[in-house]
Structure formats: C-alpha cells, structure tokens
C-alpha cells in the first residue's frame, strides 16, 4: 500500500520535471556543450576543455565591458533604491491622489524597452530633442553621440526614468502594509521622523527592499535594448555592456564556443551577486 503511494507521488511530480527539463536544464546543457567543444557541424566536434573559458577570461574587451557593467549596476542601485524609497515616503497614503500618482508612476514600466531607447534618442538629440536643446541652450556642451560621459549619463538617466517607478511601487506597497499603531506608538514614545524611518519603516521594508535590489540588479546587469537603440554601444565602446558584447560575439561573429563560455560566466556572476545581496539584506536586522 505504502509502496504504491510512493510511485504515485513520482508520477505527480513528473510534469514539473518535464517542464523544468525543457525550459531550463536542456537549454543550459546545450550551452555547456558548446562551451566545452569546438563545433563545426553535426558530425565534426572536438573537445577543447577549458580553452574557451581561458580565452574569454583573458579578453581585454570583455574586461572593459565587465567594469562598465559593474559601474552601471552600482550606479543604478545607489540612485534608484534611495530615490525609490524616498519618493514612496512622499506619496499620499490615502485620498483621490493615490490612484492618480500610482498610474502616473506605472506608465514608464509599460513602455517596451526598445521604445524607451527610441524615446530618449529623440528626447536627447542636441539639434531637435527637448532635453538636448535645453541643455545646450543653458550652456552645457552636451552631445551623447560624441561624448563618452554624456552617453553614459544619458543611459543612466534613462534607466532611472524607466525603472525607479518599480522601486517606488514596491516600497509603497510595503509602507501601506505597516499598521497605523506602529506610528502611534512612535509618537507616544516621542520618536523623531528619522527614528520612525530607521526603526519602523526601514526594518518593515526589508523584504520588499530585498526584492527591489535583486530585480534592479538583475535587470540592470542584463541591460541590452535601451543602450543598443540609444547609442549602439558607443561612442567607441563607452556604453557597450556585457550583453551587447555577448550578442556581438555569438550572433555577429558566430563564435559560439567562446560565447557559450561567456554566457555561463555571465550567469554565474549574476547568481553570485544576487546571493550576496540576499544574505546581506537578510542579516541586516542583527546590527544596530
């Protein structure tokens, strides 16, 4: 009797095993396959060991892309998380303006990624774009197609515009979930606004912030469409991030072996950072 139940259980799990196999394990194993072999055609393949990995890890162009990528993700987190929390605190808690502000905030999130790039490409043009013309008009020599720093800042501002709303909406939901009695208790204690934030709101937002940091890190670390449309990775390679290098390698040059090795390293970096963020935020409450 017990044995039969056991076999039933396996049968019930089978659909999930199949779905995971088709959606995750098999594509991943294909990549692993390519990363360890030099493949010319269906019947001609050679095992190359870690050669592709060594090649990729020694590629100075990829080092540059990795550094730019890390700087970009760091800037994104440092700007968007505090800004998102701050703006969420400023939103009205009830009343007719709640739905108005939530809808307005959600708008950038609804725009497809390549359209975001196009919008900012036009918006920032020094000759006809609203922002470009004004910046030049008030004395800045701004030109995102020619100047590396300008291009970089434009990509960053574009990402802040596109994604800060996500952080705001997540934090706003987290703040709304705090019972009013917490604020009353703080008032009775005579706690300052800062103390309310530090000892009530911030700890209560911990779970939401974990999600926000992870999502923002992962999305920003994989950024592709927006800078590709806006600058094409230029000027030079100032805004060439990891995923664009990868695409060039795999689709442009058809170097499938190195590209596969690169993909796996890319994936492991994201996994590692996500895990570090996860542990850090979870253990945050032990201090102070």
């Amino acid at each position: 009797m017990e044995k039969r139940e056991y076999q039933w259980a396996w049968l019930m799990v089978l659909p999930v095993v199949l779905v995971v196999a088709f959606s995750a394990i098999m594509p991943l194993m294909t990549v692993v396959n390519y990363s360890l072999q030099d493949i010319f055609g269906p019947n001609s393949r050679f095992f190359v060991g870690t050669a592709w990995f060594t090649e990729v890890l020694r590629d100075p162009a990829l080092h540059g892309a990795l550094i730019r990528q890390l700087l970009f993700s760091a800037a994104v987190l440092l700007i968007q998380i505090p800004l998102g929390v701050g703006l969420a605190l400023c939103l009205p808690k009830k009343g007719p303006w709640v739905s108005v502000s939530l809808v307005l905030l959600a708008l950038p999130l609804l725009v497809p990624w390549n359209v975001v790039g196009t919008i900012w490409q036009v918006f920032s043009r020094p000759d006809v774009g609203f922002a470009g013309v004004i910046l030049n008009g008030i004395g800045f020599d701004y030109n995102y197609t020619g100047d590396s720093l300008d291009a970089w800042l434009t990509v960053l501002v574009m990402d802040v515009w596109h994604w800060t709303s996500l952080v705001i909406l997540l934090c706003y939901a987290g703040l709304q979930a705090i019972p009013d009695a917490f604020y009353q208790a703080a008032r009775i204690d005579g706690a300052s606004r800062w103390a309310v934030f530090r000892f009530i709101e911030l700890p209560k937002l911990k779970g939401v912030l974990l999600i926000a940091v992870l999502l923002r890190f992962i999305f920003s670390f994989r950024i592709y469409a927006e800078p590709f449309v806006l600058t094409g990775g230029g000027p030079g390679n100032a805004t060439t991030f990891l995923s664009q290098s990868l695409t060039t390698m795999a689709v442009g040059q058809f170097d499938l072996g190195p590209a596969a090795a690169f993909s796996l390293i890319y994936f492991l970096i994201i996994l590692l950072f996500s895990y570090v963020f996860y542990l850090t935020i979870l253990n945050m409450d032990r201090e102070g």
């Binding site: 019972p179 009695a181 917490f182 009353q184 208790a185 008032r187 009775i188 204690d189 005579g190 706690a191 000892f199 009530i200 911030l202 700890p203 209560k204 945050m284 409450d285 102070g288």
Partner: protein, 357 residues
Amino acid sequence: MSLVLEGVNRTVGGETHLRDVNLTFQRGEFNVLLGLTEAGKTTMMRIMAGLDHPNTGRVLEDGNEVTKVPVRKRSVGMVYQQFINYPSLSVYDNIASPLKLARLSDSEIDRRVRTEAERLGIDHLIDRLPSELSGGQQQRCAMARALVRDARLVLLDEPLVNLDYKLREGLRSELRNLFADRDTVVVYATTEPEEALVLGGKTTVLHEGRVVQHGVTAECYRHPASTTVTQVFADPPMNLMPIQVDDGRVKVEGLFDQPLPAQMKDLVPGRYTMGVRPHHLYVTPGDDRITMQGEVEVAEVAGSVTYVHLAVNGHDWVVEERGVHVVHPGERFDVHADLNRAYVFDSADQLVAAPQQ
C-alpha cells in the same frame, strides 16, 4: 493624578465618534472601557493620550487643562491589539527605547529595563528580536515598553484580543497585579463582558459614542442602568420582553399573567420592558417558575453548557443551561423563568426594578 474628560465631543467627517462624554478617572484605579466594536473606545483613548483632540470639551490632568497638549509632552504608555515593537531592536532595546528618548542615565535604564522584564516574565528573552518571540511574549514586551517609563496614564486597547485562549487567561490574571502598586491611571478597553468582570475595578460602558453607565464593575453588572447596558455588558445579552403591569399583576398577552414578584411591588401600572438573564431561564419546571412556550431556532452545546436560541412570542431569547441538551430547530420548547430574578426598565429605558440579592 486624576484624568477628567469634560463634555468631550468628537466628530469625524460628519460621523459622531464621541458624544458629550463626562468622566473622571482616579490614579491607582483600574478602569475598564467596555463597548462593542465602533462604540468609541479607541477614539476616547486617543483623546486621553493626546493623539487626537476633541472638537469640543476639555481634558484635565490633575486640574490642569491638557486638551491640546501633544502626546510627546504627556506621560503616556499604550498597548495595542497588534503586537507593536520595533522590529529591528532586541527586547532589551525595545523596552529601553522610551527611557532613551527621555534621556535617562545608562545605569538607570539598565535597572528599570531588567526590573520590568522580570515582572513580565521575559527576562530570559532579553537579547532576542521581537520576530523570534511567540505572540504572547511579543505582547509582554510591548507591555513592558508601555510600563517601564512609569507613565501617569497607561492605555491598553484590547491587548489580549490576538492571543489564544490560554495565553489570554494567563496574562489577564497577571494584569491586575502588574498595576496594583502603581500610581497610574490605567484604562483597559475590551469588547468582552467577562474580561471586565474578571479585571474588576471600575467599568465605563460605551455605546455609539455615549457613556451609558459608569461605576464599580460588579455594581454595573448587577444594576444595568438601561436595556442598552444589558446588551453590551452581558454575553449572551439579557433577554428582553415588553410587559404590562396593573392591578398587582404582571402580564404578557398570551404568555403569562402572574402576581407581582417582590422587586416589582412598587411599580406604578403601565408598560415596561422585562429583562431576564439567560442563566435565569431553565429547561425544567420549578416551584417559583412560570412556563412559556417557544420555538427552537438553534442550539449550541459549548462543553458543559448548552445555549438554546429560541423565539418566545416573537422575541429572540437565549437559554443558558448546564449540561448537554439535545434539541432541534423548529421544535416546540418549554422555557421556565423565575420572575423574582427579572429586571424591569421603564418606558424611558431606566432601570426601575432589579432582583433582590
């Protein structure tokens, strides 16, 4: 100290939360605020604390007006239904937080935190975070925070509601001792009549924003001032029925016609409302008992007690009887009452006769 509410009214958006409240609370007293949900208990507490201000009326502390004094300038401790602690601070730091904000010396803070934690039986948990405690322990921590500063006013807003039955009884029996030797005005809000009776002290019965009775708890229970009080301060509520008194007899058309029992002797003839407690109705006949017929609506067996809900002459009554009695909905059911145990309220809804003790 004493805390006085004088003609306090509070209206929010056209809705009356409190209406003409006049009350005096003395220090060292345990005060129960009893009322159904939305009766105005929390509103009254917020005004006492200074979290909200009345639209009209005054709040006096020891004769000094504090109506508009904000909460941080008062001396208040408050405990809520939810377990409110600072989530990222240890139990020790939670209890210490009001003392730190009051800028006491470290040694004094340490002494008081440890004393208070010990009184509430959480001294062994002092290094834990609130999230690592059970519900009962979290509420003990919140109580220690409210008590540690020796506030002049301590407000407890249904603090035991979210605890399970056993924990609730344990903490409730400790509560009176916790406040026994304190020089504080203690106000405890609850919806449960039983809780008021166990806690004792004085009770204020609130209904729809009005004070309907205020006095020593047992006295309020024995002499409910109006039928409203009998519905709030009794669970299940008292059974009511219009009666007619004349010619030395009390009668209900089609139900009974009896000589007046002792407590009703002085009533002038007229229409009244009679009230009988559910445990003064019986399923067995007896010498002094009259018999009425009703129809069973539902019967609940609650352990050693059975509650039979029935319609008597079109009124919903409840009979509380010891033991397990199996009755079915729709059944004809004889209920027996001792009129000597009946309360009588006049047409102005004032108590005019109560059973002799």
